[in-house]
Amino acid sequence: MSQLTHLERLEAESIHIMREVAAECENPVMLYSVGKDSSVMLHLAEKAFYPSKPPFPLMHVDTTWKFKEMIEFRDRRAKEVGMDLIVHINPEGKAAGVGPFTHGSAVHTDIMKTQGLKQALNKYKFDAAFGGARRDEEKSRAKERIFSFRSEQHRWDAKNQRPELWNIFNTRVHKGESMRVFPLSNWTELDIWQYIHKENIEIPSLYLSEIRPVVEKDGVLILVDDDRMPIGPNDVIQEKMVRFRTLGCYPLTGAVQSEATTLPEVIQEMLLTTTSERQGRVIDSDAGASMEKKKEEGYF
C-alpha cells in the first residue's frame, strides 16, 4: 500500500486544521474573498464537516470595487453550499466615497480593506478567522504560524509567535484577542491549480481568457468593469483577449493577455511563465518588506 500523494496530504492537513477550529473556538468565521484560494478553502470546508454543513459563516469584506462577477459568484456559491454569508462594507469609507481612483490605492486599501476587516471582526466578536493565505506567496508569510495570534488591536507580532509543533495547535485566546487561521499555509500556487483541476472546483470565469474591454493605465491593463472607471481623453478602450491571475478590486488588478480559455491552458501558461503571481497586484510594488509592515498593522 502506498502513502498518500502530496495533494491528499495537503487536503487532509487543511481539513484537520478546520476541524480543530470548529471544535475549540467559540465563534469562528471563514473569510471569503472569492478568489481561487477561497474557492479551494470553501471546498475543503465542505469536505471537512460532511455530512454536516460547515459550522461557521462566510464573511466577505467588500470594498465596493470588486469585479461585478465576483459579487454574483459569491452570492450564488454561498447559497449553493448553504452557509450564512456576512458582507461588510466600511460605512465611513462608503459615506466618504473612498475609492482607488479618487484616493489612491494605498488609502483605498487601508480604509476599505484593512480597517473594514478590523471593524467586521470587532462587530461580530469572532475569535477565529480563516484566511486563504499561503506561505509561498510572500517572504514574511513563510514564517507565519498556521494559527496566528492577533492582539486586541489585531496586530501580528512576528517576534513573539507561539511555537507550533506537530499538528497540536494552541487555540487559546483571551476575550478580545483572536486567531487568524491559515489552512492553506503549506499549499503552493501550483498545488492550488492542480487541486482545482483534480477536484473540478468552480472558480470565477475571470481566471479564463476572453475578449474583454480594457484600458491601459501606467502600463497595466485595467478592465472597464463599470461606469465608475474614469476614461480620460487619451484613454482608449480596447477589446483584448485577457484573463486575471488574481482577483481583487478591479482598478487595482492588472489583466494579462492570454489565449488560455480552459483551466489546463491557464496552468500551462502559469508553468511556462516567468513572473510571479503577485506582480499583478499594485499593493506589492512597494519596498520588499511592505507586506510585513502591513500585517503588523492588521492587514490580513
Partner: protein, 636 residues
Amino acid sequence: MSHHDELIATDILGYLNAQENKSFLRFITCGSVDDGKSTLIGRLLYDSKLIYEDQLASIENDSKKSGTQGDNIDLALLVDGLAAEREQGITIDVAYRFFSTDKRKFIVADTPGHEQYTRNMATGASTADLAILLIDARYGVQVQTRRHAYIASLLGIRHIVCAINKMDLIDFSEDVHNKIESDFREFSKDLGFSDITCIPMSALDGDNVTSKSKRASWYQGPALLEHLETVDVDTGTLTSPFRLPVQWVNRPNLDFRGFSGTIASGTVNVGEEIIVLPSGKRSTVKEIITYDRNLDQAKEDQAVTITLEDEIDISRGDIICSKDHPAEQSDQFQAHLLWMSEKELFPGRQYLFKSTNKNLLASITRLKHKVNVNDLSLEPGRNLILNEVGVCTLSLSAPIAFDTYKNNRTTGSFILIDRHTNATVGVGMLDFSLRRAANVVWQELDVEKTQRAQLKHQKPAVLWFTGLSGSGKSTIANNVEKILFDMGRHTYILDGDNVRHGLNKDLGFTDADRVENIRRVSETAKLMTDAGLVTLVSFISPFRAERQIARSLLEENEFIEIHVNTPLEVAEARDVKGLYAKARAGKIKNFTGIDSEYQEPLNPEIVINTVDMTAEEAAERIVEYLKANGYLDTVA
C-alpha cells in the same frame, strides 16, 4: 517559472495527471550561522528553476545593497524573510519553503543555527522526516552539529543527511570528508538514526546540490537533490496499530453520529472491531465516510469520519484503536520536555496540557535531570529555562490513552500552555507510563472522610491565609483558632515559619523552592481535611498558580482563600520580625514585596483590611463568614 518538462508544452493534461501522484517529503535544514544554510536552500530553489524573474530581479537588487557575495547574486537573500532579520544578517525563526520536482513535493523548514533558538529547530523538526545537517568542511563536527543531531533525534527524525559544505575551500579533499564522516558516525551512534548519508558539497558553487560535482570525482553517492527525491522515509506506520484520535463529533441530525479525525497511524476497514479509550467500550466500524465517497479502508494521515454499529458515548479527545492492539492508558508519565518560554518551569506548578485533541491539567511532579544538548551529559536541576531539555515526571488530572513518542509521534506528543498568558511554554514527548495509575491503586479505607467529620460534628475546611510578610496572617489565624476551639471544633494551624523548621527545612526562598514549599503544605492540608479537621494555613504563598493548585486538591467549598490585604508600606513600617530592614539592606534575597513578586488573589472568598480593623475584629469577621456559609452547622 520554467519547469523543463516537455509535457507542459505538448500535453498539459498528461502532465497534470502525472503530477497528481507525486510523493511528499518534509525536511529541515540546520547549521550554524555561517555554514551556508540559507545559501543551500536558495541554491535548491534556484537550480530547480523555481525562482521567477521578478523575484530574481528583486534579490539582484538586494544583493547589491546588503548581499555578502560582491557582485554575485546572494542566494541566501531568497530565503531570509523578515526585515529585521535582514538587517541583522541572521535568520531568527522557522520559515517554510516549498519546491517540487517531477518526483516529489518538498516542504523545507529553515531553522536557525543561532545558539539560543533550540525551540525553533524543534518546531521545524516536529513535522519533518529528514534532517540536513550543514557542516563546514573547514571546521568539522562542532558543538552545534552535536546539538542539532541530538534535537533531530529527540524529535524522532530517523533520516540524516550530513551536508559537508564549503568543500571548495579545502580543494574537495577526500581525507577531510572521510574524517568528518567517521567523527559524525561515532558521535551519533546512540541517537537512533536509521540512515546517515554524507555528501561533500559547495552550496555557493552548486557542487553536488542538484547535480553531481566533477570536482569530487572520488565521491560515488548521489547529489543532494537526487537523494531527497529517492530516500524512503516510509516509517512503517501503516503497519502500526490503528489510532484515530476523535477531533470533532459530527452530528448533522439526530439520526447521524459520526466521529471525525485524522488517522494517526495504521489502517482501518469497514467491519473491523475497535475499542474506544479511555472508556474501553467496543464496537465495529459501520462506515468510513468522506465527502467524495464512502471508503472500504482508510489509512494513516487521512482525515475521515467513521460511524459505528453500536451507539456508544464517544467525545473529542477519545482515541479509537484497533481492538487487538489498543493504546496504553495512564495519568503518570516520564517525558522529555523542551522548555520554550522566557518564564522558567517550576516543578509542582500546573499547566494546561494538550495532546491529540485532549485538554487536561498537568503538573511536572519532578525534574529528574536536565540534558545538556551540547554534550548529552545529564545534569541535576530544580527548574528548566528557555531552550533547556529535561527528563521529568508528569502527572495529569485524568488518565489519557497514549503511545510512547518512539512508537507514535502523534499520540505520544503534547504541549504545555500557561494558564494565565495562554502562551505555549513547553513541548514534550512521552517516554513511558510510570504505571502508578495502574499499579498503585488508591488504598480504599473502611472509614471515610465524611464519617470522620461526622464523628467530630463538623465540616472540614481549609482557611488559607495569604498576604505579605508582616501583614498579620498568623495573628489573625491564631485568633480564629481560639474562637473555633472554644466552640468545640477540631482545628490545626500550619504556619509558614513553623513548617520551615521541619517538613520544609530543606527549602530556600528561590521561586522554585517557594513553589515546592506550597505544594507540600497543600498536600498536608489535604490530608488534614481528609482527617476531618478545620485547617488554618498561614503562608505568604505569593503565586496565584500555587494557591490554585491547593484549591484544586480539595473539594468544592472546602477551600476558603483569605487575602490579608495589608499594603507594603504598612507591613514594612510594622516590620515585626525586622525582616524588611534586612531585605532592604540586601541581607535577605528573594523577599516578597521587595525583590520577589506578590500576586494578589483575583477572587478570594474573604478580604481582610488590617488598616481598618484589629486582629480580633478580623477573626470575628472570618467566623461570621463560616457561620453564614454553613461551615459551623452541627453535622448530625
